[in-house]
């Protein structure tokens, strides 16, 4: 259906100019994974569970709430009539990381972790004993169901803190933290560009 607009191929030229502009000046946006990583969400339910041996009273609520029975606890009564967990193992291989144990813990002694790399060479190493369950190395507690951790964690890369949309969603959220805690990848982005994405 012909119309009266003038079409001289200027659309094609516009497209060519745009692509060459991207080729020359736009930074690469992909993340080179093993070398570069994005900071995960503060509330991530990562592929591990972190246990706090100081706070744990060995009440076994987590073991009872686990839908799959992955948490194995053996307890002992101390002389002062408190309990201690002699054996505390979690089978990460069977866990579906639903977070029910974290939600049910009355003493905030078990947390979801922030790590997302759990590939191993055999199944036995997925059953983690209590010495290795505590926070160490990249095994750090996430802010899932634990607002006290959430505020200390670095903001997620490529996610917009501050700005209109996120203020409406999470009014209790603190303003963005100092860029030093943010990931190197997220620093590459200009603040203006971030806000633009956030409004969309």
């Amino acid at each position: 259906m012909p119309d009266n607009r003038i079409s001289l191929g200027q659309g094609i030229l516009k497209g060519l100019a745009l692509t060459i502009k991207h080729f020359i000046s736009r930074p690469i946006i992909t993340v080179q994974y093993p070398e570069e990583r994005l900071v995960t969400s503060r509330r991530i339910r990562g592929c591990d569970l972190v246990w706090d041996s100081e706070r744990c009273t060995a009440c076994c609520t987590c073991a009872k709430s686990c839908p799959q029975g992955n948490i194995h606890i053996e307890t002992k009564v101390r002389p002062d009539n408190t309990r201690e967990a002699v054996v505390f193992e979690i089978d990460h291989g069977r866990s579906m990381f639903c977070g029910l144990c974290v939600e049910s813990c009355p003493f905030d002694a078990i947390h979801m972790g922030r790590s997302y790399e759990r590939a191993t060479y055999n199944r036995d190493s997925l059953v983690i004993p209590k010495e290795k369950l505590v926070a160490q190395g990249d095994r750090q507690p996430s802010g899932y169901f634990r607002p006290q951790f959430e505020e200390t964690l670095p903001p997620q890369s490529l996610l917009i803190y501050g700005g209109k949309s996120s203020e409406v969603k999470t009014p209790e959220n603190p303003p963005p933290q100092s860029p030093a805690t943010a990931a190197p990848v997220s620093e590459k982005k200009e603040p203006a560009e971030r806000e633009k994405v956030g409004v969309k």
Partner: protein
């Protein structure tokens, strides 16, 4: 020592084609990646330069499946018929002219054979690869392969005409069909004398080698993979290599016919095969640029574009070149200015006309 000449050039051409085809595959993936704001393959070797080797090893080790209902002979022959013409084209390409060079001097033109009808040879040979695609489409006994092959015949027959008519302008200016003579005559690159011819030739060649935006041969959203749907392993790799060898051939022919081949523009530096190589890469970059910008056209748009846009323009172009040939020599720069203006004006006017009569719609 005639046989030595043949042996040396067979080795040179095979090495040239295979190395450049391998690097084209990598260059394409890296450059298109950069256009799409990603890096492309960068894991195998420094900056991913060994990626083509890894791909080749993978594809050689793959199982070579021959479906039970294919026409065996034709099915096995088709990849070779597609690949071989692309290599044959390089038999007449002058890699460096006779005379003083940047690195070494030559007594004769550095080409396997300096055919007097080199341009004719190129277009005759490059048409054979269509036969290979048709053979593949027919022998595969698969409806998608056959549809892809039928599209290819229509596309290639249509685009051959404006393409050859555009090159005819070059032949008129140079007064010779020999590629060495054509390069010799290019004191200024023929792209300046023949901007419209270059435009038509380049679009026609893009369609001829089934590159985006004219890659209807393998439109995966419509006909899965086109002719190579039943091919696997090394037979598929032959099609893949053939496609890139043809892209290399088109880049080389464009460099030789329109950009002055081995000559440095205006003869500022001595001629060398290095300049030819730089020009080839430059042309290939433009092909990639177009690929990463434009979406695939429809079949009716494709045919309409060839017959209603490129063909009339190429006839006008041929007429203009012939008319300018009547002028006395010595008017090089006025003619350049005139031709660039005419090219822009004709493309703009015809594009608008083309759009007003319904664009590429056939109905």
């Amino acid at each position: 020592m005639d046989w030595l000449h043949w042996v040396i050039y067979v080795v040179i051409i095979l090495a040239f084609v295979l190395t450049l085809v391998m690097s084209f595959i990598l260059i394409e993936r890296r450059v298109v990646g950069r256009f799409q704001l990603r890096l492309g393959p960068n894991r195998v070797g420094p900056q991913g330069i060994l990626q083509p080797v890894a791909d080749a090893v993978k594809i050689l080790l793959k199982e070579d499946i021959i479906p039970s209902k294919v026409d065996r002979v034709v099915h096995l022959l088709a990849p070779i018929v597609t690949f071989a013409p692309a290599v044959l084209i390089f038999a007449v390409i002058p890699f460096q002219q006779a005379g003083n060079g940047l690195f070494f001097d030559l007594k004769a033109t550095a080409s396997m054979v300096d055919l007097d009808v080199g341009v004719l040879f190129i277009f005759a040979i490059s048409s054979i690869s269509v036969v290979g695609l048709v053979m593949a489409g027919w022998a595969s006994n698969n409806k998608y392969a056959l549809l892809g092959a039928m599209r290819t015949i229509a596309q290639m027959v249509s685009y051959e005409i404006p393409m050859v008519l555009a090159v005819l302008g070059i032949v008129l200016i140079a007064g010779s069909l020999s590629l060495a003579d054509i390069v010799d005559k290019q004191n200024i690159p023929f792209i300046l004398l023949q901007p419209l011819g270059f435009f038509i030739y380049f679009l026609g060649a893009t369609a001829e080698m089934n590159r985006s935006p004219f890659d209807l041969l393998e439109a995966e959203s419509e006909i899965v993979a086109g002719v190579n749907i039943e091919y696997s392993g090394m037979k598929f790799a032959m099609f893949f290599l053939g496609e890139y060898a043809y892209a290399l051939a088109v880049s080389t022919i464009t460099s030789v016919l329109f950009l002055g081949g081995a000559k440095f523009p205006w003869g500022l530096l001595p001629q060398s095969f290095i300049w030819l190589l730089v020009k080839i890469l430059l042309v290939f970059f433009v092909i990639l640029w177009i690929r990463s910008t434009l979406p695939r056209v429809r079949v009716d748009q494709l045919m309409g574009f060839a017959w209603k846009f490129l063909l009339p323009l190429s006839l006008i172009n041929l007429f203009l070149v012939a008319a300018e040939g009547m002028l006395p020599s010595g008017f090089t720069w006025p003619i350049v200015a005139l031709n660039v203006t005419l090219a822009v004006a004709l493309v703009v006017i015809w594009a608008n006309r083309f759009y007003r009569v319904g664009g590429a719609k056939v109905a």
